[in-house]
């Protein structure tokens, strides 16, 4: 009998049919903004049997950190040795969301917004102050070992592999750690080696791999035990364009063809655009937006950035429909609204008026979208 990582990875609900999934009492009837989509999906009259509960369910999750306050100067540091003053920081401030089997969700937000705290709670590393959380039907911090056995986690900035060992030996060690049966392990491993083109890398110590090669190996390592849920934390950070495409392509196939549920945190909107059918935006510990990327853009801004390198650094830029927002020698940054002037139209309009060396159109950076979203939120409730 041949096993396959993909057969195992496909979602098999372990739940007994007959679970009554009634949301009305859990929320006391009030609809929270973060739940809008999940409610729509699962809005069933109370009492109807619903065999596929979410892979991840988070309700009003709160996590506070005690940060030791540093007093300035040497005297302050000395005083801090004896008596510390603590300040409570709410890293996660009552967030709620559900993630269904087979979803590929982008989880975005600026640094310090609470992204990694959420992921740490979901993966059982941290115990929250309050709130409900179920991952694959389990409370992660109460059943850490059983939960993480079904999770795959990839950190873009840190490898999960053994720095000085050849890739293949790291894989073998992971087999023992996750207690994967030998036949299942071998077929999963060989399949991943073929898909990610790892064959030439297997005898190389991890420290000698390039970033892109290492990321492919890390992806394979996180999937050897056929997890049903995969956390990807900045999987494309620092990668060249080709490696980025390879990683995205692999993640897409993993999700679409094999049904692995993926939660992806990233700073790269292109990752989200290429992969995610749903985006969760977190800012200052709260969910600011839960919907498709287009919805998110629509709520904030439809504007695009046009960056142009001019032939003549001194030229006066004048192009109807676009506003100059920045200038640095030859380089000019403009904004335009593609609803009023479509991007191709705007480009030809610009090129017909100015001598251009190079030019490209981008989405506004994620930080900006989140900042605007946050400004809107705080303006709404004074």
């Amino acid at each position: 009998m041949t096993h396959s990582v993909w057969q195992q990875a496909t979602f098999r609900p372990p739940y007994v049919l007959g679970v009554v999934w009634d949301k009305s009492h859990t929320h006391g009837g009030t609809r929270q903004p973060g739940l809008a989509r999940a409610d729509r999906l699962r809005c069933r009259p109370s009492g109807i049997l619903w065999p596929m509960p979410p892979v991840v369910r988070v309700e009003r999750l709160v996590k506070t950190f005690q940060i030791a306050e540093r007093r300035p100067g040497f005297g302050g540091a000395l005083a801090g040795l004896f008596r510390r003053r603590y300040r409570a920081v709410r890293a996660v401030d009552g967030i709620s969301f559900d993630i269904d089997p087979g979803e590929l969700v982008g989880y975005i937000g600026p640094n310090g917004a609470g992204k990694s705290t959420t992921v740490k709670v979901l993966s059982g590393i941290l115990v929250p102050d309050s709130g409900i959380c179920r991952v694959l039907g389990r409370v992660p911090w109460e059943e850490r070992i059983a939960t993480v056995a079904q999770l795959g986690v990839v950190f873009g900035q840190r490898t999960q592999l053994w720095w000085d060992l050849p890739v293949l030996e790291s894989f073998d060690l992971l087999r023992d750690i996750y207690r994967v049966p030998r036949t299942a392990y071998e077929s999963a491993r060989d399949e991943l080696i073929a898909l990610l083109e790892l064959a030439p890398l297997l005898d190389v110590p991890v420290r000698q791999l390039s970033l892109g090669q290492r990321m492919r190996c890390d992806l394979a390592a996180s999937l050897l035990h056929a997890p049903r849920l995969l956390f990807l934390d900045e999987p494309t950070i620092g990668l060249d364009a080709v490696s980025k495409l390879a990683v995205r392509d692999f993640v897409r196939r993993l999700n679409r063809e094999r049904g692995v549920t993926v939660i992806l945190t990233t700073h790269d909107l292109d990752d989200i655009e290429a992969l995610c059918n749903r985006v969760l935006v977190i800012g200052q510990g709260r969910i600011l937006c839960d919907g498709s990327l287009a919805e998110l853009r629509g709520r904030v801004t439809t504007q695009r950035c046009l960056t142009v390198d001019l032939e003549d650094a001194g030229a006066v830029v004048d192009c109807p429909g676009a506003v100059v927002v920045g200038r640095d020698g030859h380089r000019v940054h403009l904004r335009f609204d593609p609803v009023q002037v479509p991007a191709p139209e705007m480009i030809s309009r610009f090129v017909s008026r100015h001598a251009v060396r190079d030019l490209f159109v981008e989405n506004p950076p994620i930080e900006e979208i989140v900042a605007r979203l946050f400004a809107q939120e705080s303006a709404r409730k004074p």
């Binding site: 850490r144 993480v148 986690v153 999960q160 060992l165 060690l173």
Partner: protein
């Protein structure tokens, strides 16, 4: 349990393979470790050369204590050194990675770094022990050999327990308290001499709080068939090495508390 030990073995072999990637560094460390611990014994030898005996103990008898405690310490350092470098592991986020794996944290921390270069101290201690065994006028029965092994293993457990406690402190303070080092390294120094030469409070500490005497001084009396000036009963001398195992068990319990604290504070 057998699965756990097998995994520890796999971790250990991975760690050793990693170290052998840097062969020159490994050989130099091992040699340095051998020489450094050797100098210790030279001091001891010089002392006895000058004074003959100390409180009725000859050099060969003290060498027995010395050999046992150094073997214990070398084993503990080799097998549980991961706890000794735990502070760096926490600071660089490596401990979070361990929490993401479906295995006990203590096993992963112990296994992440198995220091083979401690073979230096191991061989040096072993050499001294063999020399002591040969020059002492002692009948080496099977029971006595077993007791020696038990005392060495008990001692290794005790030192491992100290490393675990030291690592646990990392969860509560931002840095490892150096004070634990005075008990580990200081303990090795202390146990190289018979306990009876020390002051009562000091003896009490190393018998009841950190039961170093139980894995060294007390079993040595059974091996040498000496009368203990401190008046310990003879059955205790044979059972005492168990105290080391008990100490490690308690230390691992406290470690679990520390992990729980870490997971609720995240710092």
């Amino acid at each position: 349990m057998p699965g756990t030990l097998a995994l520890y073995g796999r971790y250990a072999s991975a760690s050793v393979k990693s170290q052998l990637e840097y062969r020159a560094s490994f050989l130099m460390h091992a040699a340095g470790n051998f020489l450094l611990s050797g100098i210790d014994f030279c001091t001891l030898w010089a002392l006895f050369n000058r004074f003959g005996t100390i409180r009725g103990w000859t050099l060969a008898e003290v060498a027995l204590l010395y050999g046992m405690v150094n073997l214990s310490f070398a084993l503990a350092e080799a097998l549980a050194r991961g706890f000794g470098t735990f502070e760096t592991l926490v600071r660089h986020g490596g401990f979070d990675r361990m929490l993401l794996r479906p295995r006990s944290t203590a096993l992963q921390v112990a296994g992440q770094e198995v220091q083979l270069m401690r073979v230096g101290r191991f061989f040096q201690g072993g050499g001294v022990l063999l020399w002591a065994a040969a020059s002492l006028d002692v009948r080496w029965t099977a029971a006595k050999v077993t007791l020696t092994a038990a005392a060495i293993i008990g001692g290794a457990c005790l030192f491992a327990g100290l490393f675990v406690l030291q690592a646990t402190l990392t969860f509560f303070t931002t840095s490892t308290l150096e004070i634990v080092n005075t008990v580990t390294y200081g303990g090795v120094e202390t146990a190289q001499y018979p306990l009876s030469v020390y002051r009562p409070w000091f003896r009490g500490f190393f018998t009841f709080v950190v039961p170093l005497a139980c894995v060294n001084y007390l079993p040595a009396h059974a091996l040498l068939e000496r009368n203990d000036p401190l008046g310990s009963p003879s059955w205790l001398r044979w059972a005492a090495p168990l105290a080391g195992v008990l100490f490690l068990t308690v230390a691992l319990r406290i470690w679990e508390l520390g992990v729980r604290h870490y997971r609720s504070t995240g710092s």
